[in-house]
């Protein structure tokens, strides 16, 4: 079986969705002729035509707002925001309308809308190209939010997002776009709302999502060699959270470290810690640690590794938690 990159897997997901459902539309800035600045939509316009895969003007609020109207007209829009930092002009449309339309209409008008946002840092990008916007979306009732960690799950999550009757924000970890995996592209497996335990371990649970999952796996590998076996949980679905799996894993480890790129304060880790405490308080052997970005704007390329949780920072936190 050939290897596939995350970009390739996302492209395949869009291609298969366009192929299977004639109501799926793919649009955004530079997604047509160019195939997207990350090439996620490469070849789709040639394959499906300019009516179904099209470029828009640079108009993020308009892109999100058009999703609302298109969904009302019976289409299934899949929009791309070119970068995390450029998705903010669309927040009003997403928060005020995309997320609320079903509730506003007492369930009569759903929003089967997918908004893809290349997200997070680690690509030596310029300012506005390394943001972690997940909390804004997770905090908005009516949205689902997913962040894949590897190519095969990226395929699955994007397909599930497009098929979902409700709006799903797909935060694609740019720094993992060129990571490779081997395996079958399928929608079978864990759905939206389910976490995955990627590695078992009794000493501590590493809980993460997106690009930081790879660093957690790397840290777990190093810690295993030190005789500290760690479980690694890939949340995948940031909203809804898989509280049951979190509780189950931490009840078995008694210790947990949460890892994400977003700043510490009110980052998703705060919610994860609260849920774990609610689910597994009696089983906790140590305070839960968070290894996250600092409470600073995302730094320039030359300093981004100061900001991002490193394998060493993750391992150190685990050692401290285990030694508590």
């Amino acid at each position: 079986m050939p290897e596939i990159t995350m970009v390739g897997a996302l492209n395949a997901a869009l291609r298969d969705a366009l192929d299977e459902d004639p109501r799926v539309l793919v649009f955004g800035e530079d997604v047509g002729e160019l195939g997207g600045v990350f090439r996620v939509t490469q070849g789709l316009q040639a394959a499906f035509g300019r009516d179904r895969v099209f470029d828009t003007p640079i108009s993020e609020s308009g892109i999100a707002g058009m999703c609302v109207g298109l969904a009302m007209a019976g289409w299934r829009p899949v929009a791309e925001m070119q970068f995390d930092g450029f998705s903010y002009p669309a927040l009003d449309q997403v928060i005020s309308h995309v997320a609320k339309y079903r509730e506003r209409t007492r369930g009569r008008v759903g929003m089967p809308v997918t908004i893809r946002i290349p997200s997070f840092g680690g690509i030596r990008g310029k300012e506005h190209h390394g943001e972690s916007p997940e909390t804004y979306y997770v905090h908005t009732a009516g949205l689902k939010v997913v962040a894949p960690a590897d190519p095969l799950d990226a395929y699955r999550l994007l397909r599930l997002a497009i098929a979902d009757p409700d709006p799903v924000i797909v935060l694609e970890p740019k720094s993992r776009y060129w990571s490779k995996a081997e395996g079958e592209l399928t929608t079978e497996g864990p759905g939206i709302g389910r976490a995955r335990v990627l590695r078992d371990g009794s000493a501590c649970a590493l809980i993460s999502y997106g690009a930081m999952v790879a660093r957690c796996l790397e840290a777990a590998e190093a810690l295993e060699a030190e005789g500290v076996p760690c479980a690694v949980v890939d949340l995948r679905s940031l909203s809804p959270l898989d509280v049951a799996t979190l509780g189950e894993v931490v009840r078995s480890t008694g210790r947990a470290v949460v890892v994400h790129e977003a700043p510490l304060t009110l980052g998703l880790g705060a919610e994860v810690v609260a849920r774990v405490v609610e689910e597994a308080f009696d089983h906790l052997e140590a305070p839960i640690r968070r290894v996250t970005g600092w409470d600073v704007p995302y730094p320039p390329a030359s300093l981004e590794q100061v900001y991002l949780p490193s394998v060493e920072r993750i391992a150190r936190a685990v050692r401290e938690v285990v030694a508590y």
Binding site: T56, M66, C67, M72, A73, Y101, R108, P165, D166
Partner: protein, 355 residues
Amino acid sequence: MSAPETTDDGFPTLRCLAPDGTPVGDVEVGLDEEGLRALLRWMILARRLDRECMALQRQGELTVYPPFEGQEAAQVGSAAALGPRDMVFPSFRELAAAIVRGVDAVEYLQYHRGTWHGGPYDPLATGFAPICVPVATQLVHAVGWALGAKLDGSDACALAYFGDGAASEGDFHEAANLAAVFRAPVILFCQNNGWAISVPSRAQFAAPIAARAPGYGMPGVRVDGNDVLAVYRATRQAVERARAGDGPSLIEALTYRIGPHTTADDPTRYRDEAEVERWRALDPIVRYRRFLEAVGVADAGFAAACEAEAEAWVGTVRAELVALGAPPASEVFDHVFAEPPATLRRQREEALGGA
């Protein structure tokens, strides 16, 4: 064609009837006598309902209410120019347009009673999107819907209402540009009622809103918004253009909000009563009624019959409305997602005790 009237800014304003109801141009707008009478009937019904809503609010039966008195011609004339498969995207002051579209007044007013949010009626069945409060945001929805209709090969069009205040929002610009770029069958219909709450038009923009249209690549028409025939004609032309595949149009209807912004507003703090009186003299219903009676399409008995019908109707609306209670508490949770996730089901149980 109706006579263009040039105001002091040099931009023409289309008008069919002078304020006293005298024709000032071609009054043949393509409506038969029944259609012409229907416009008057809708305006009379709408005004009576609007006044009843003000009373209902003062009596504590509605929460905050945004009256539209003075804007009946702008709303009725434009909504009447649409077909049943077209889609209206209102803001929050378009009750007159809603009833022309066949939206049930009691269902609509559930929003102002606080029973439910902006979509208590069936938006798809009525062709009237949910009431939209975030200013100008509905305009891009209309463009999306229109693009969707075009992709379906339908000749339906969308009409989005917005106010003069909304013309300053970024979403106005994005909607106008996207509509033009995609040649979307959409009509951007501005009711310029002179005031964005307390800020007058002259402090909001320095050129007519309609004058922006060529800059986007679409026709822009300014029309006397208190002249229902002129509004109907301008909208009809825009609808025909949209159906023919020629893309969007921008219409600016000059009108006036006789009442407050909402029942929570006190307009005496920011505008002259003399200005209000000048606009009262331009009343759209009086003007049109005079015209219909002068040309013999309606007699005084017709308006009287409409008023009697309105009186009986608002009585029914009032009775049904005040009888409305809150929906079941479970509805707070039940419409957020098609299938509530486990985390929300748990909160629902906590709130309702498993009800």
